[in-house]
Each structure stands twice: as structure tokens, then as C-alpha cells.
């Protein structure tokens, strides 16, 4: 089941879009629940009240707070990188500030079923397996943490530190073994002592990368090729 929110001040558009989502859901046998918001303020209030969504479709061309403002609130204030944002716009010319919110997709208005379908299919392909967990043991008790909440793993001596949005979890383990149990799209090894969750990477350079909490990590020479291959992977039209 997918929980989706649509934010646009154009009532006609919202109704149409909701119908398109239903059509997609029926055609692909997925249950989709869509909440509609006509203003940025309403959307922000809902998020503050703890509403949980998988994807947000946000309009850019509307009164403040608009899609960009909402996106920034989600990434910067809520520190949430797991919530996927799709910007819907009547223009194809995008300002740089949009990219800093790390949207998942851009949709053009007027939106067609085919474009929405491509977007949703991509979401399914990339995030379907995202409710996986990282399991670890402390004092003979097994715990688990959703990968969605893990920013990066660090190995220090014989211990592994799980850096999450909130706390830091330490347990005995070897980074090699832990990474081998996870798919490479979920946790990428970038250094002898570090592996990162790609979702939390906000900018990537040839020798280093930055995570959403400001941490800068360097990509060691040994792993540069691997990191590159993961960036090269996938169909180009996606």
C-alpha cells in the first residue's frame, strides 16, 4: 500500500491527479491512498501533526509556502530523506534550489497517465525493498533497525557504529560481513571503515561525499570504482 499526498492550489488539477493515481493503482494492483492539500500551510501542519506518507506530489507554482518550502522543511527541519518528493510544474525550467531538496522526479503539467506511470514504476523499482532491516547483536540479544533510519556505518577497531538520525548504536562486528548481507543499493562501501546509505548522500564528488547531517566522508581510492559503478547502474531512461 502506498500513502501519497498531493499539494496544489488548483482544485481541478488535484481531482484529475487523484483519478490518475487511482487508475495507476488499479492497473498495477496497488492500493494507493491519496490525501489532498490545497495550500502549503495545510501540508506543513499535517506533517507537523505526524502524517506519514511515502510520496508527496508538490506544486511549485503556487503561493508561499509552496512546494519548495515544504520540501526544504522536510529535508532540513525534519531531517527526513526517506520521504520521496515529486515536483509538479507547468514549466520545464528549474531553478537550482529545487535540486537541493533532492526530489525523486519531476512531472510536467498537464500530466499524462504515461508520465505518472513511469514515475510510479520507478518508485516501485527503487524503493519496494526499502523496509529492510539491519540486524545486530548486543550481549546475545538480537536487535534490528530499519535501513531507512541508518545514515552510515563506521567501523572502529572490532566495533561497528551505526549512525542514525537520532542515536549512535555500537555493536561488535565486521563491516565486510554486515555489508555482504545488504544489497549494494541500500548500503555502499566507500572506505575501509565506512559504508553509506545512498538515500542520505546529498552531494557526491570524485573523492568525497556529504551526508544530509553535514558529515563529510572521503571515498578511498580502493572503492572509487565501485561507487562509480553504482552511479552508472540502471537504465538511462530512469
Amino acid at each position: 500500500m502506498l500513502c501519497v499526498a498531493v499539494m496544489d492550489d488548483d482544485i481541478v488539477f488535484c481531482t484529475q491527479f487523484e483519478k490518475m493515481l487511482q487508475r495507476y493503482g488499479e492497473a498495477n494492483e496497488i492500493k494507493i491512498t491519496a490525501d489532498i492539500y490545497f495550500s502549503g500551510a495545510a501540508m506543513l501542519q499535517a506533517l507537523k501533526d505526524g502524517a506519514l506518507y511515502d510520496i508527496l506530489f508538490l506544486d511549485i507554482e503556487m503561493q508561499q509556502p509552496n512546494g519548495v518550502a515544504v520540501g526544504r522543511y522536510i529535508r532540513e527541519t525534519m531531517q527526513n530523506e526517506a520521504l520521496q518528493i515529486v515536483y509538479v510544474s507547468g514549466k520545464t525550467q528549474y531553478a537550482m534550489e529545487l535540486f537541493q531538496v533532492r526530489p525523486f522526479w519531476f512531472l510536467e503539467k498537464p500530466t499524462e497517465d504515461a508520465s505518472l506511470s513511469a514515475c510510479m514504476t520507478q518508485y516501485q523499482d527503487r524503493f519496494a525493498g526499502y523496509h529492510t532491516y539491519l540486524y545486530y547483536t548486543i550481549s546475545k540479544t538480537e536487535y534490528r533497525i530499519a535501513l531507512q533510519d541508518v545514515l552510515y556505518l563506521e567501523s572502529k577497531g572490532r566495533k561497528i557504529l551505526i549512525h542514525t538520525r537520532g542515536e549512535l548504536i555500537t555493536f561488535y562486528g565486521r563491516l565486510d560481513l554486515v555489508c555482504s548481507r545488504l544489497a549494494v543499493e541500500q548500503m555502499i562501501r566507500i572506505h575501509k571503515s565506512f559504508a553509506v546509505n545512498p538515500q542520505y548522500v546529498v552531494s557526491c564528488y570524485s573523492n568525497s561525499l556529504y551526508l544530509s547531517d553535514g558529515t563529510a566522508l572521503s571515498i578511498s581510492r580502493k572503492y572509487r570504482k565501485e561507487v562509480r559503478s553504482s552511479l552508472f547502474a540502471g537504465d538511462i531512461m530512469i
Binding site: 520545464t92 564528488y205 570524485s206 538511462i236 531512461m237
Partner: protein, 415 residues
């Protein structure tokens, strides 16, 4: 007094041979980690240590050490693998030894005068030549643009060889005249090879000029597109009232199908047929629209996907070279393919520019490579140019040749 004059010639030749070693390092190291002047300082210290050891101590082991160790330390100023540093230091040192050996052997057959030979003048020149040759060879491999005719290169060889001959004839004794001659001849060599570099730069400028001429073509095309769009808009604006009237009538008559068709027509008119992308990057929009319109004229099935900010960190020039060449390559392949399909995607994510271009092609090994080589000679461009543009952004390129599609993926980093 022989001593100081002898020494002076030795010092000048040694400086020149160290300069030759520096030229050689260009084959192995490219990325500097420290400022230019630090490296100059490094070489100055190297020169002082090496010359000092040789003149003061005359100990063979010390000579070797003062040649290898400071030179290796200088390599730490560059960003490369440790193994490359060892390889470079040892190779360059070995080349020096080799030149020494070669000159010694030649001296058995050809009577060099003592001054030229024992001061290391001839050896230094030969080492310099070898360094330059190695440098040019490695450049030729990496960059098709910088290629000068073989005749230029052969003519250039005349200068160092001639220098050795002149020195041999002219430098009879260790006197002031010999010092002057050494300095001037070595100076001439440095100047001549410097001029060669300037020549290369001119060639590059000529290549750039061609690119600008190409760009003008793209702009001309874009203007046509804009004119078309303008005309369409005017048509719509004038008749808007009529169109709306007609649509309203259809609505009232509940002729919904006709209305849908009419609306679709109007929407299509709003966008000129050949405008594939409009990212706000005018040069890029121009180029891609132009190239894709050529593909369309060929009857190709085209899909484009762009997600780009209006301000790209890649310079317009590099984008033109990159996309121009990639698309030209694709168009060339489409020409000889019965089923034409072209997919293009340009994405900006996490401060990385991700470009993908996929096209159908006829997989005939020999023919394809020959055609690509011909293209290269015609414009001096090609995939090698793309590689140069890509490396400007520490980027990478990956090519996939499957049975049906030829896919090129390019990643460009912001730094």
C-alpha cells in the same frame, strides 16, 4: 683555472638534466597536490643536494641516493598511487642511466670531446629528448586534438642533435667560451620546445574555433524554432475568442469527443514540433534541439528526459563538446541502421550530472571502427574529445555495446 669552469658546465648540465626528469614526470603525474612554487622549491633543493653531493663527496652511493630520494619526495606533491610514484622514480632514473650508457657506447665510436661528454652535457640533452618524446606519446594517446604532423616533430629533433654536434666541435676546452656555449645551446633547446607547446596551443584554438562555428548553426536553428513558436502563439491569440467559442458550443452540444480532440490540437499548437527540451540552458537547448531534429528527419524514434537546473556547473563550452560529439556519434550510427531509436537523458542529482545516450546501431566491428577513425580525422574530434571534456570534471564514461543498443553513460562531478 679548470676547476670552477668545469664545475660551472657540470652545474648547468645537471640543472638541465633535472629539468628533463621533470618533463618526464608529466607522463606519470598530472594532479598537483601542492602549489606550483612548492614544486619549484622541491626541485631547487633536489638540484642543490645532488650537485653538492657529486662535487663535494664523489661517493657513488651518495650520488645515487641524492638522485633517487629527493626525486621520490617531490612525487609526494602529486596525487597518485604509491605504486605509480615508485614506478615513475625508478623508470626515470633508469632512463637517465640508459642515456648515460648509450652516450658512453656512442663515445667509443664517435670521438666526443671531453668537455661535452664528461660534463654530462650530451647525456642531459638526450634525456631531455627522451622525456619529451615520452610526453608527446602519452599525449597523443589521450588527446586527438593535440596532434601535429610528424614532419614538425622530426624538424624539432634537429635542434638537440645539432646542439650536440655543435658542442662537440666548438667546446674544446673548459673555458669561459664553453660555459657560454653550454648555456646558449641548452637555452635554445628549452626555447624551441617551448615554441612547440605554443604551436600545440594554436592548434587547440583552431579546433575551438570550429566548435564555435558549429554553435552558430545551432543558434540559427533555435531562432527558427522560436519564430515558429511565435507565429503559433500569434495565431492562437488572435483566434482565441473563436476557438473558445467553438469549444463552448461543442460543450453545450455535449460533443465531448470532438471537444477533446479540439483541445488536444490546441495544446499541440502551443509547443513547436521540434522543441525537445527547454531547460533554460540556452546553449544546451539549442544544441540538443538541433541534433534531435536531425535525428527526427532521419525518421528516428526519440525519447528525451531532462532534469537540469538552469545554472549548470559544467561550462557551456564543455557541454557543447560533450553533447555535440556524443550526439554526432549517435546520429552517425543511426544513419546506417534500419530501425532507428534514440534515447537521451540528462539528470542532475546529488551534485552529479548524469548523462545517458542510447541508440540503435548495426554491429559490424571492422566497419564501425573505421568510420569512427575517419570522423576523427575529418574534424579532429570524436570520443577522445569527449574523454578530455569528461576528465575536466573528474568524470567518467562508460560504454555498453549490446546487440541492439549502443549506450554511453557519462558522470560529471562538481569537483
Amino acid at each position: 683555472m679548470e676547476f670552477p669552469l668545469n664545475t660551472s658546465i657540470y652545474l648547468i648540465s645537471n640543472a638541465f638534466s633535472i629539468y628533463a626528469m621533470y618533463q618526464f614526470t608529466k607522463v606519470f603525474y598530472t594532479k598537483r597536490r601542492a602549489g606550483f612554487w612548492w614544486i619549484v622549491l622541491g626541485y631547487a633543493i633536489f638540484f642543490l643536494l645532488n650537485s653538492g653531493a657529486y662535487l663535494l663527496f664523489a661517493n657513488p652511493l651518495l650520488n645515487i641516493l641524492t638522485r633517487l630520494v629527493p626525486f621520490f619526495l617531490i612525487s609526494l606533491f602529486y596525487d597518485t598511487k604509491m605504486s605509480t610514484r615508485f614506478l615513475a622514480t625508478l623508470t626515470i632514473y633508469a632512463m637517465g642511466m640508459l642515456c648515460d650508457g648509450v652516450m658512453y657506447t656512442i663515445a667509443q665510436w664517435i670521438p666526443f670531446n671531453d668537455v661535452v661528454f664528461s660534463s654530462g652535457f650530451a647525456t642531459a640533452l638526450v634525456l631531455f629528448l627522451v622525456a619529451l618524446a615520452a610526453g608527446k606519446l602519452s599525449m597523443v594517446r589521450s588527446n586527438a586534438q593535440k596532434r601535429l604532423p610528424l614532419t614538425y616533430m622530426l624538424a624539432l629533433l634537429f635542434v638537440p642533435i645539432g646542439s650536440i654536434i655543435v658542442a662537440n666541435v666548438g667546446m674544446g676546452e673548459y673555458d669561459f667560451g664553453s660555459i657560454l656555449m653550454t648555456t646558449i645551446l641548452l637555452g635554445i633547446n628549452v626555447v624551441v620546445f617551448g615554441l612547440y607547446d605554443v604551436l600545440l596551443r594554436t592548434e587547440t584554438l583552431r579546433a575551438e574555433k570550429e566548435i564555435y562555428l558549429q554553435q552558430n548553426k545551432y543558434y540559427a536553428n533555435q531562432i527558427h524554432l522560436l519564430e515558429d513558436a511565435q507565429q503559433n502563439m500569434q495565431f492562437l491569440r488572435h483566434d482565441m475568442k473563436n476557438h473558445l467559442g467553438r469549444m463552448s458550443a461543442l460543450l453545450q452540444n455535449q460533443e465531448y469527443d470532438k471537444l477533446a480532440g479540439y483541445l488536444q490540437q490546441t495544446i499541440t499548437k502551443m509547443r513547436p514540433a521540434s522543441e525537445y527540451i527547454s531547460t533554460g540552458n540556452s546553449d544546451l537547448d539549442c544544441l540538443i534541439n538541433y541534433k534531435l531534429s536531425l535525428a527526427e528527419a532521419m525518421g528516428a524514434e526519440i525519447t528525451v528526459h531532462t532534469e537540469l537546473p538552469q545554472e549548470l556547473f559544467v561550462s557551456d563550452f564543455d557541454m557543447t563538446v560533450l553533447m555535440g560529439n556524443l550526439l554526432d556519434n549517435a546520429l552517425e550510427a543511426l544513419r546506417t541502421c534500419p530501425q532507428k531509436q534514440l534515447d537521451l537523458s540528462l539528470r542532475y542529482q546529488k551534485e552529479i550530472l548524469n548523462i545517458g545516450i542510447r541508440n540503435t546501431y548495426t554491429k559490424e566491428n571492422g566497419k564501425k571502427k573505421r568510420a569512427a577513425a575517419e570522423e576523427e580525422m575529418l574534424h579532429g574530434f570524436g570520443l577522445k574529445s569527449v574523454q578530455q571534456a569528461v576528465s575536466n570534471y573528474n568524470g567518467h564514461m562508460k560504454i555498453d555495446e549490446s546487440d541492439d543498443y549502443y549506450t554511453v553513460k557519462v558522470l560529471l562531478y562538481r569537483k
